[in-house]
Symmetry: C2
Subunit: 222 residues, 2 copies
């Protein structure tokens, strides 16, 4: 069975779970304590990060963006990286946007402080860092809202990996109750559509030791 | 004529210049003062970053990793992203390594302090940040050296975008004189091979107002 080394609140791991689910590729999840820096995992991914996909063939694929491209190369039956050259550019632009900008400006500040610090055992969240994260989140919600209002899906006419990348980050923040949906109605409408995909169900059923999901986290009508 | 909006000491811009050169795709360079945040450029790339490629067709392609995939999709005559699935995974893993890890751990600390701060007019380099950058650089040179010693090229048997990504970062640092080649002989041997490619010549001839290259920067026998 295909194996995904992951962490439940890692947006990059969530993205890959959504891509695998949408492409109907079953996988077994392995909760990877990356902070223990064990050698077997470092050998799978010298960067020491989740997600890492290990195929039955033995092919090791480390990193969300690498896995997204790999899955499209090897399992192209469900297209998630765009159908035309222009769509592929836009899907990849947004994947990169969420992988670097949203990650550095929002997720590192909020998930890093609230989740990683607890998992890694390195102290309490820093209020100043959280404030920066919330401020940046508002800017990013405006941008996602702009995309959602002007297009059917974030990257254009088709559901794509860009939608799952955005939803992966937002779902982890929503688990923590960090998203004020009332202030971002067009993002909520788009997110409700992504959240209702069958591939999303396993994420909504996640039980994570030490963390309690927000009241509406698993609610499809939030 | 194809246009590349760039900055001469941006490793991401350098990577794209090398890819275009290796694929023999001519382009006109536009020096982009991203710190002025002008609206025309923000429209090309909402992230406000270089590089951005604009094709004669009007296709806009923002971001180095997006451009690398785009060039391989559209101009596959010279293969730089790997020939097999396993090679493609390894090339992309290393592109991601340099785009995120090397960038955040080394280039932000050294190029960010020495180059960006001067261009952006926001003060002097912080010695503590530089020290962190130099310490991380030693770790990364060890890793590049390990790859260079165990493989023909960094990602495997063929020259690939991974070599150009690594060389793009190292060449910008080498311009500043930040690389102690005597301490990294196997990296030096590999870099000498990349540096002697015809696509590298325009980078070695760069004249950059306000910055003087290290004595050996353009020397192929350093």
């Amino acid at each position: 069975m295909r194996i995904l080394h992951h962490l439940p609140l890692s947006p990059q791991s969530r993205l890959v779970r959504l891509l695998l689910g949408e492409k109907r590729l079953p996988c077994e999840l392995v909760f990877e304590k990356i902070w223990e820096k064990n050698e077997a995992f470092q050998a799978l991914n010298p960067a020491g990060e989740v997600p890492v996909l290990v195929e039955d063939s033995g092919q090791i694929v480390p990193g969300a963006s690498v896995i997204a491209e790999y899955l499209e190369d090897v399992y192209p039956e469900t297209i998630l990286m765009g159908r035309t050259i222009a769509e592929r550019v836009e899907v990849r632009r947004l994947l990169d946007w969420f992988d670097r900008l949203f990650q550095d400006e929002v997720s590192v500040n909020l998930l890093g402080e609230k989740v990683e610090k607890r998992l890694f055992g390195v102290g309490q969240p820093d209020g100043n860092v959280l404030r920066i994260g919330y401020k940046n989140l508002r800017f990013h919600l405006d941008y996602i809202g702009y995309l959602a209002e002007t297009r059917t899906w974030l990257a254009g006419p088709s559901l794509s990996a860009a939608d799952f990348a955005a939803a992966a980050h937002l779902s982890a923040l929503d688990f923590l109750g960090d998203i004020n949906w009332a202030h971002a109605p067009s993002v909520r409408d788009w997110y409700a559509r992504v959240k209702s995909r069958p591939c999303f169900r396993p994420l909504l059923a996640d039980k994570i030791s030490g963390f309690t999901p927000s009241a509406h986290y698993a609610d499809l009508d939030f």
